[in-house]
Symmetry: C2
Subunit: 339 residues, 2 copies
């Protein structure tokens, strides 16, 4: 990406092992993330460009001398940041803060939207997938790299459990995966706030019991109507604008929890006296995807959950600029890149 | 209080039973709250004045026909808001949000800084104290009405448990009670941030293992030095300014929790991307004091905790204006009013 709206396909040097803990993975599937759309809309033009993509699944092509957990030929999925999975932060379930971790597309590491990636900390990062490289499950397994594990993080940090009422704000891929996660953890009522019928229909398939298409004050009033007047105990905010935070604050019952998943597109938020008087909790964050893959993988393998259904259109690598455009125009929910 | 700096002693009508659920309590001890100092510093002048005080302990003088839990002659403590202790909010531990609850000094209810108070929802609100009205324990029992139960709420909502490292920001009465609460819940290291030696010395008596007198960036650096460089997992913010929130954010480790107890003196706070990237949780709020009294009372009766030590000067009712001035000038930590 060279700037807002400027995504180009270029030849880059083939990645090679640089550290004994590296692996090189040849990409089979990748995709475009909702968070990729923020720079796509606002990134200042640069002369050098920035490799993009942090969700991918592929075949190990080479490994460094210290790598023992994966080997050449293994089909693996990569969580959206790499990590050693052993440091004190990882041990606390904070893989995003890993001492040796980092992000794809930065610091000399390739982006996932490309033919191959050098993955640092391969043993800590990569998870072997016990399926063939042409399995129908691959899109759902790719979702483990970010959207499904992120939606799960929302449900975990909001404390969603059996019989709960949950509001999910946002019908993007993360919001829809949060619906899957809330359902999977036993939520009874799942209200999905979104206005794109195709997406909210998929949300209903995933377990949403109610859909609220209204926004702002109207949306808040609808949620309160649906929940006896006082709002919902657990809110998963999967958009990241100031307006959706306000909607969350208006929809949550006193004593409730708002878990934020979208990267906030604001620096300051309304966390003054009323949040204290109402005993509200604001939590959430960047998912420790690596930590959740082990838990969610069996449910994908046996078909209990199908997060791959969020991919509603497939593009070739050359079609990546079209994929960005289609997602930015909201013609496509989540674009799969088949390498 | 007629405005900033303008506290007057006046004769008001003796309170009487108005609802069958009321009790009239003759005050034995009351006190001035740190939160009373906010209007003392900034309240616009009014012609009518506002009854003040929400912390008191006294003897039941009369009860309405529906009151069965307390009777005339009982020594009782009142939590800082009244509540029915039976509604759905109370059942969820949100007594501050009680459906039939309210605040002293508003809606025709007297303030606690006076000779007697009509207490609505007496059965839900008042807790009988199994001691004589002249017991040496009374100041500690009075602390149950607010500061001790509020400090406890900080420790509960921050999730403080055995072996934890905790930072308490603020050496006011609530901060000091948060130290008691953190120690009581088994915290191993308790860092108290405050610069008034007499108060931080009391904090050490209460269980603080370290005192940080520095503020702002310097204070953050000291806390990080004390905790291996990365900060503290649990922070109790017992002041309520924007600066102390910034200090909390700077002192907390990734994945940590900040519990706010002071009423925020700001409307907007820095809850943008870095809070998400660091997986921070912001929680806390107005304590359900009533819910905690049953748990804390035995520890006061047997001397395990002595929150009454925060009262460092006693005033008569007529001395109330002096009590406010002394607290506002920080000459007195917490002023006891002996009726």
């Amino acid at each position: 990406m060279y700037g807002a709206g400027d995504v180009r396909i270029e030849n880059r040097p083939d990645p090679t092992i640089q550290q004994p803990t590296d692996a090189v993975v040849r990409t089979v599937l990748s995709c475009v993330c909702g968070s990729d759309l923020w720079p796509y809309k606002s990134m200042p033009a640069t002369g050098t460009g920035r490799p993009m993509g942090h969700e991918f699944l592929g075949v190990v092509e080479d490994t460094g001398s210290d790598v023992s957990g994966v080997r050449t030929g293994d089909l693996v999925v990569a969580p959206f940041t790499y990590c050693d999975n052993t440091c004190d932060h990882c041990a606390r379930g904070l893989h995003f803060s890993c001492r040796q971790g980092g992000r794809y597309g930065f610091d000399g590491v390739d982006g996932g939207q490309g033919e191959a990636v050098r993955v640092p900390q391969a043993d800590g990062t990569l998870v072997r997938l016990p399926v063939a490289a042409d399995a129908a499950l691959l899109p759902s397994l790719l979702a483990l790299s970010d959207v499904m594990t992120t939606g799960h993080h929302g449900a975990v940090t909001a404390g969603v459990g059996h019989g709960d009422d949950v509001l999910v704000i946002g019908d993007g891929a993360v919001g829809l995966c949060a619906v899957i996660a809330a359902r999977r953890r036993g939520a009874e009522r799942i209200i999905l706030m979104g206005r794109h019928a195709a997406r909210t229909d998929l949300g209903r398939d995933f377990g949403a019991t109610d859909v609220v298409a209204e926004r702002g004050e109207e949306g808040i009033a609808r949620v309160r109507d649906l929940t006896g007047g006082d709002g919902v105990e657990k809110v998963i905010e999967a958009v990241g604008t100031r307006q959706t935070l306000q909607t969350a604050l208006g929809s949550v019952i006193d004593g409730g929890t708002i878990s934020r998943l979208g990267v906030p597109q604001y620096e300051e938020g309304p966390v003054g006296p009323s949040m204290i008087m109402r005993n509200l909790t604001l939590t959430g964050g960047a998912s420790p995807a690596r930590a959740y893959i082990d838990e969610l993988l069996p449910d994908i393998l046996d078909g209990t959950i199908e997060p791959g259904r969020v991919f509603d259109k497939s593009f070739s690598l050359d079609g990546t600029p079209d994929a960005y455009r289609a997602m930015a125009d909201r013609r496509v929910l989540k674009a799969l890149l088949a390498l």
